[in-house]
Symmetry: C2
Subunit: 127 residues, 2 copies
């Protein structure tokens, strides 16, 4: 069945001890006011000016700071299976999305979007 | 003097030994055909569908795979100085752009664009 996907967000992951400083820095650097989704307060999010593309700063519990990308899709299982066939691996499913790793071992997320948000003008169609 | 800047690209940095596999994966994952600028063949680049936002895969000589972001600006010195005042540090200047580090130590690049490419509809103005 046809589904869509797109690269949709960059996520800057930082541990607790530098989170506040990092969030202030990236808001200042981009001029964006980032907001927290009520359901997931560890994220601060804003869309880039004029783009359907977003920047997120995530507070992580521990570990090294890093950057990862989010792929959004209107059919999570189909998209994850498609990416597996290209060489990615399922790592874990923390919430309603999958964390996968690419061939170099870099983590990225695959996030389900509401049907209808992705179409031929803003995403890639997979038949 | 007024200048503009914007977050404009994601760069996936991978060492030589996984570069080919990684490039194939990300082209397949996004459906984008990435092209090499003649001047810098270590980069493969494509714009995301419907967005003024790009994905780059960079071949690096050694080191761990990582992801970084590029900020583009029409006034390199003014932008780098602005980011320094926010807490970033100049690391090195490999070509006509600066590599900086954010408060968490993550590297990012600040890239000069042609005057006129950035404006109120696609970037942030700094007065």
């Amino acid at each position: 069945m046809t589904h869509y996907s797109r690269l949709h967000r960059i996520v800057i992951d930082v541990p607790q001890e530098v989170h506040s400083e990092e969030l202030t820095f990236w808001q200042g650097a981009t001029g964006l006011e980032m907001t927290q989704p009520l359901k997931y307060p560890e994220y601060h999010l804003a869309d880039l000016p004029g783009q359907e593309f977003g920047l997120i700063v995530q507070r992580i519990g521990a570990g090294q700071p890093r950057v990862h990308v989010d792929i959004h899709t209107d059919d999570l299982e189909a998209e994850v299976a498609r990416l597996e066939a290209l060489g990615a691996r399922r790592e874990f499913k923390p919430h309603e999305w999958w964390v996968m790793s690419d061939p170099a071992g870099l983590l990225f997320c695959v996030i389900p979007d509401q049907p209808g948000t992705l179409h031929d003008q803003n995403a890639q169609r997979w038949d």
